[in-house]
Amino acid sequence: MTAAPLAFTTDRLGWEPWVEPLAEAELTEAHREALVDRARAASPYFRLLARDPGILHARTKTDLDIFHNADGGLPRAERELAATATSRHNGCVFCASVHARFAEHYGRRPDDVRRLLDEGVGARQDQLWRAIVDASVALAATPPALTGDHLEALRAAGLDDLAISDALHAAAFFNWANRLMLSLGEPTAPEASVKE
């Protein structure tokens, strides 16, 4: 294993658990079903979460719908932006690396993503990205600090209520994901083994 990365990056990082995942040979049919995508049996992160299969299954199905449901609403790039901004603000280098790559891929705005990672959530962005980053940051606060002004800014940037709801769900979900990835193990450089 190589040393954990010290800064936010779009590199493909690895992730190592601090406590013992289930071994692949220990996975029962119920565990494999909880993984949803069976290829995830190769990932120590998902094999660790498989210790409680009920909530892992719910987590994964919730995640997939929030990010992949293409029936209207917010474009994928901006859902990934909300995930990246939340991860940047909470301090999850691993999550931010994965979702910054997705935001770059779907949004084709690598410089804007790069600036978010390098300079942080206050970095200059256009009106739509500014509104999404600000709403994500406000929602990440404890207690949540989202106000009507944040929603007005999202509307002013052209989003309808479904798109706003998508942004809020993507941001809210990463509060869940960030805490798991930050507290059960750590990123290693390089090499991608899991997606979160």
């Binding site: 010290l6 800064a7 936010f8 601090w18 406590v19 013992e20 660790l48 979460l49 210790r51 409680d52 009920g54 909530i55 892992l56 299954h57 719910a58 987590r59 199905k61 919730t62 997939l64 719908d65 929030i66 449901n69 209207g72 609403g73 603000h89 909470n90 301090g91 999850c92 942080g120 929602l139 990440a140 606060a141 404890t142 207690p143 949540p144 989202l146 106000t147 009507g148 929603l151 007005e152 509307r155 309808d160 209520d161 479904l162 709801s165 998508d166 809020l168 769900h169 941001a171 809210a172 979900f173 509060n175 869940w176 994901a177 960030n178 805490r179 798991l180 930050l182 507290s183 059960l184």
Partner: protein, 201 residues
Amino acid sequence: MSTDIIDRLAGIEPGSPLDGLRRRRPDAREHAQRGYLALFPQDTGGGTGEVSLVERYAVAAFVAGLHRDPASARHYDDLLSAHDPDLAAAVSAEVEAATATGPYGIYPEGPLAAESVPGPVHRVGDRAALGERLAAALEHAHLLVFRPREADPQALRALARAGWSTTGVVTLSQLVSFLTFQIRVVAGLRLLRTTQKGPRP
């Protein structure tokens, strides 16, 4: 009234615009509810694994209290109070003592150190009222809620010393982390509901 917990806490009525909006993401709606029921099973005939139901309610009441969303805080406090009113009082006292504004935390030395934001580390006051196992769980929950960037292997070792198995640690971590999602979805949807402009022409 909806039986969906997010609908109930956010004040979303069946057939309302927000209900329609949630149903455009049917899996997210269904599995957010299934996640809630997996963590807080209503029929405990099959047991609750390595974390008892009252422990789950106690951690949830603490986490929801820290978020200061009245509807969510009341919901989990009510669940705990119905099972163990003395414990509910002890958890309420911890919430009072543990209030903070997050996220904060210290980054390791390196380029992110300039972004470090120091903040309080919560230590449970009345450990006897909670028991060592629950006291350790609330301290870990406080870490996850407010300063997740400071999480480290020592935090997991503290849980192990207090009697938490590895599977119990996974359930506890999921419970706290899930609630940070659920409470934010509730807050966001409620705000969206109360600021809605109505149908566009």
